[in-house]
């Protein structure tokens, strides 16, 4: 039988009946293959790259030494490990000394990324794979200038002496929190000898992990973390990147789901037509002695072959597409793009075969029941199993979507949404019919003929309008979401986003720094006064008593607090009022901190700063958009609360490369000013936006291809009937012009009806998805109106083309054929 089935397949292929189905499966698989391959590799590439900002894949951080069992477990899982101890200590160069933030790192540090160093302050930089060896010390430019120490000098750290071998420019996991003290890096092997860590010292221990089993380690360690320990990975370290990635992934998933949905519609429609066209052949074959079972076997094997071939072609197309996109982006990646895993391939093949199995096979399975009597009399029809097919299809679709999108909510709402469209279309048709009944439709006018045709073949009209509306809806949803996502991303990282933060600017330096900046044409943000204070009381009770270990750990450091009467950009007051007129001091606190510490409006917080003890009432709670790269503060106080002489200033500039060089002159002139460069992280987020945008474009192209296939499949569905009707009308004297015009009107009406329904539903659906899934703001989309002429035009063109032979072929031939 398999030989016969191949032979028949070859003959069928020539006839073109199979092509539309093959094309539809191929498109579905190509969409999925391209998207899954792309997001698989993009994900690996971005995570790999982002992890360099962490110097590891996972970090356990603690205020006490990290448990030995963590180390044991990590060794057991063959993870790479490094340790880091952060503390403050005086560093001496003879009589010159300065309190410095010191990081002691083990030999294997950093696990990912490199340490950037220079030979002299603000000099040319090089990258090292390791931190300082035992006996060595890296100091930053500020410390170098402050204590007048150069590379080669020997400095005292506690009881030990270390030799300066490099000027520290940037370590991969440099925190963006603003540190007042200069920085230095030494080896953990020298920490004991230095004797600087004493009971009660403020110390932070970090254990860094990387390797294939990091995920497993994370799962193991997360539930057993102690109160004073925290876990950091790319999501917590860099929420902006994590969130962009998350959104991008959800979008791509949604888009490919919808793409597959479109293809499945095309496949179903094509399968139905295929089965219809095969009915006569099957009847003939049955007269030749084929049993129902052989018929099913024959077509099942054909369908599987088609599914398999289509899957392979789809994967090939998908692979090529994603490779092309990655090649275009390759220059953006510093690291190698990892090869894709086998998962996307398996998924694509499974999809192709499932399409064949669940959406084509049920259609051809019905051929089993075709009566051979059909060869003698047309009244023996083919009992269609549409309802069974619908149920099988809907269940398969829901399971597939659930599997793919990982959410029942989305799977069910999509299927229900499509179902609603079908019901809505039926209702509209019923309404139109009820109205049309009141008027006489004259078959002599193209309008009358067209409308009468549509209403007479209500079942077909219903299928066509529903399918076109679904396809239009899907494309509209994708286009709208894509637009708002990309727009949102671009807003998040506008071109003038500052990439250099200057802080620790003493009040007397504000003017000269401002002049220097304007002389050189720097673009800057506002100037924020900043004080560093410790929170020591909440509602008058010392935090040692009022907070849990974990809560205390969260705030047990000096906070950068600004004071201003103006609510900064990217801040939204969630509760309370922004700086109302009150007696005493007031503060506005970030919502995350409020939640972590269990605070509420009206609570008071006590601050200790430079020997002062100050108290303020919380009068507002703010939501801060940390995605935006601008100066942001957990706590904002009213001006006048903190003594002005304790403040330093913070500002940020957007500098190009040449201006970056000017910056070094400024820093050499005012060595106490500190600098944070965020160029790298901004560049990374931009890259993500660009890459994901191009992935989105790619998916768009495939979605359009699927939609066109749906259109073709659906128009094809009625061509036979239209040809026949046309031929009959022509024998009765209808002229070509009337026929063609009425058909065009039919297609126009179908297009218009689908477009209007799709527009209405998509506006609602997009609003829902935007708000629920992407945490974006809703807005109306007047641009949707373009759908109407667009869809009408497309349907009319496709319909016109598909029925072009109606008026060309002699009616006798058409009738003869039928």
């Amino acid at each position: 039988m398999s030989n016969l089935s191949l032979t028949l397949l070859r003959r069928d292929w020539r006839s073109g009946d199979l092509r539309l189905m093959l094309a539809a499966i191929t498109t579905a698989v190509a969409v999925v293959a391209a998207v899954t391959l792309f997001s698989d590799r993009l994900q690996s590439a971005l995570i790999a790259k982002s992890n360099q900002f962490l110097a590891a894949e996972l970090v356990v951080s603690s205020s006490r030494p990290i448990n030995q069992e963590y180390q044991d477990k990590a060794s057991e899982l063959a993870l790479e490990q490094a340790n880091k101890i952060e503390f403050s200590s005086m560093i001496f160069n003879g009589d010159n000394m300065r309190l410095s933030s010191i990081q002691a790192v083990s030999d294997s540090y950093p696990l990912l990324g490199q340490v950037e160093v220079a030979k002299q302050p603000y000099g040319a930089t090089t990258k090292l794979p390791k931190g300082p060896a035992k006996g060595e010390l890296f100091i930053d430019a500020r410390l170098s200038l402050a204590i007048n120490a150069q590379v080669g000098d020997t400095l005292e750290v506690g009881d030990t002496q270390l030799k300066v071998t490099h000027i520290l420019v940037r370590e991969p996991d440099q925190k963006s929190a603003f540190n007042v003290s200069p920085r230095a890096m030494m080896n953990t092997a020298d920490v004991d000898a230095a004797g600087v860590i004493l009971p009660g010292s403020r110390v932070r221990y970090r254990a860094l992990y990387a390797g294939d089993n990091t995920g497993e380690f994370k799962q193991w360690v997360e539930p057993i973390l102690e109160d004073h320990q925290g876990l950091v990975d790319i999501d917590t370290q860099s929420p902006a990147i994590g969130r962009s990635l998350g959104r991008a992934e959800r979008f791509l998933l949604l888009a490919s789901c919808l793409g597959v949905l479109l293809s499945v519609i095309a496949i179903s429609v094509a399968a139905r037509r295929y089965a219809e066209r095969k009915t006569d052949s099957v009847a003939v074959m049955k007269t030749m002695g084929m049993s129902g079972q052989s018929i099913v076997n024959l077509w099942a094997s054909q369908v599987l072959i088609v599914g398999l071939v289509a899957s392979l072609i789809g994967i090939a197309i998908g692979s090529v597409l994603q490779t092309v996109v990655f090649e275009m982006l390759a220059t953006l990646f510093v690291i190698d793009i990892p090869a894709p895993t086998w998962v996307p391939f398996a998924l694509s093949i499974a999809l192709g075969l499932s399409c064949a199995l669940f959406f084509i096979l049920p259609a051809v399975y019905g051929l089993k029941n075709v009566s051979p009597m059909r060869v003698l009399s047309r009244q023996f029809g083919n009992e269609r199993n549409d309802r069974t097919r619908l149920v099988i299809g809907a269940i398969a679709l829901m399971l597939g979507l659930r599997l793919f999108a990982g959410s029942w909510q989305m799977a069910i709402s999509l299927v229900v949404g499509l179902g609603l469209i079908a019901v809505g279309v039926a209702a509209i048709l019923w309404l139109v019919r009820a109205i049309a009944h009141r008027f006489t439709l004259h078959a002599s006018s193209p309008w009358g003929l067209g409308l009468a045709n549509l209403l007479r073949n209500r079942a077909t009209t219903w299928v066509q309008v529903s399918v076109f509306a679904m396809a239009t809806l899907i494309v509209a949803v994708i286009v709208l979401l894509r637009g708002s996502l990309i727009e949102e991303w671009r807003n998040q990282m506008p071109v003038d986003t500052p990439n250099h933060f200057l802080y620790n600017i003493a009040p007397d330096m504000v003017k000269p720094v401002g002049e220097f900046a304007s002389d050189n044409g720097w673009q800057g943000t506002e100037l924020y006064p900043m004080v560093r204070a410790r929170i020591n009381e909440i509602n008058g009770i010392n935090i040692a008593e009022s907070l849990t270990d974990r809560q205390r750990d969260r705030i047990d450091r000096e906070f950068n607090i600004t004071y201003t009467n103006d609510l900064p950009k990217a801040n939204v007051v969630q509760a309370g009022e922004w700086m109302p007129v009150v007696e005493g001091h007031q503060i506005s606190v970030e919502d995350g901190m409020v939640e972590d510490l269990g605070l509420k409006l009206g609570d008071t917080m006590g601050f200790s700063i430079g020997g002062y003890q100050l108290e303020a009432t919380i009068t507002s709670i703010r939501e801060v958009d940390w995605n935006q790269m601008r100066p942001n503060f957990f706590i904002i106080a009213n001006p006048g609360m903190f003594p002005e002489e304790l403040a330093t200033y913070l500002t940020a500039y957007k500098l190009d490369e040449a201006q970056g060089a000017q910056l070094n002159q400024l820093l050499l002139k005012y060595p106490t000013i500190s600098l944070i460069e965020v160029e790298a992280i901004i560049r990374q987020i931009r890259e993500i936006i660009d890459q994901v945008s191009s992935a989105v474009e790619l998916v768009m192209i495939l979605i359009f291809a699927s939609a066109v296939l749906v259109l073709l499949a659906c128009v094809e569905l009625t061509v036979d009937q239209r040809l026949k009707d046309g031929a009959i009308l022509r024998t009765m004297g209808a002229n070509k012009g009337l026929l063609r015009r009425s058909q065009l009107i039919e297609f126009a009406l179908i297009g218009a009806a689908s477009a209007i329904i799709a527009m209405a539903v998509s506006e609602g659906l997009v609003a829902y998805i935007q708000v629920q899934m992407f945490e974006l703001k809703w807005r109306a989309h007047p641009e949707l109106l373009i759908t109407l002429p667009l869809v009408m035009g497309l349907v009319m063109t496709a319909g016109w083309w598909a029925t072009r032979s109606v008026s060309r072929v002699a009616p006798m031939r058409v009738l003869h054929r039928h």
Binding site: D17, S281, T287, R817
Partner: protein, 220 residues
């Protein structure tokens, strides 16, 4: 060869049952050629379908060389058709997606014949279409299509050939040629021929005619 006893076909359409065949009895001997004639709606086509095992009657028996067709399931009847039956239809019923030779080969392939191509070529040449092997049905005239259908029917060397108005869709001259071909091949292969027709002249060429009116045999 074929023995029909009390054959009935009743359709339940609404309140009153519709009797299409009302207890027919007749025999067809091996090698015989029989015409089933009668006006439209008399039940000729239904009878042909029953005889060929394409449909099952509501009552009575059809014995094929001692085997009761009515008691067989669809698969067994399909097997019987595969082994012993050939068809020629009024509408030709060629598969439009296949060429002339492929249509004939399909019948042979379904029977598992190895030299399907050679045999198909030879029989198509026999019916005078040796030069049109690779043409699709739509490229052939009505007469040519029916020749292909005849070649297809005889290719698998059936014991019984059922023909449903084989010339009904053809002009008189072509119809006559097709009838000639049908009888020639019938003669050559010693096939039993059962033919439904309106055409009295065609019926006369058969050995015997069974005349049906309103579901009853009026004379045989």
């Amino acid at each position: 060869m074929i023995e029909v006893a009390n054959l009935q076909q009743t359709l339940n359409t609404g309140s009153t049952p519709l009797h299409i065949l009302k207890g027919l009895n007749f025999k067809i001997a091996e090698g015989e050629s029989v015409a089933i004639v009668g006006p439209s709606g008399s039940g000729k086509t239904t009878l042909l379908g029953m005889l060929a095992g394409l449909d099952v009657p509501s009552g009575g028996e059809i014995n094929w060389q001692g085997q009761n067709l009515v008691a067989m399931n669809e698969d067994e009847r399909a097997q019987l058709r595969a082994d012993q039956v050939g068809f020629v239809f009024q509408q030709f019923q060629l598969l439009g997606s296949m060429t002339a030779i492929e249509n004939v080969m399909l019948a042979l392939e379904l029977k598992g014949v190895k030299q399907a191509t050679d045999e198909a070529k030879s029989i198509l040449t026999r019916v005078g279409l040796g030069h049109r092997l690779d043409h699709y049905p739509r490229q052939l005239s009505g007469g040519e299509q029916q020749r292909v259908a005849i070649a297809r029917a005889f290719a698998s060397k059936p014991k019984v050939l059922f023909a449903d108005e084989p010339t009904g869709n053809l002009d008189t001259a072509t119809g006559r040629q097709i009838a000639d071909l049908l009888f020639e091949l019938n003669e050559e292969q010693h096939t039993t021929l059962v033919m439904v027709t309106h055409d009295e002249r065609l019926a006369e060429r058969c050995g015997r005619a069974i005349r049906i009116e309103a579901g009853e045999i009026v004379n045989t």
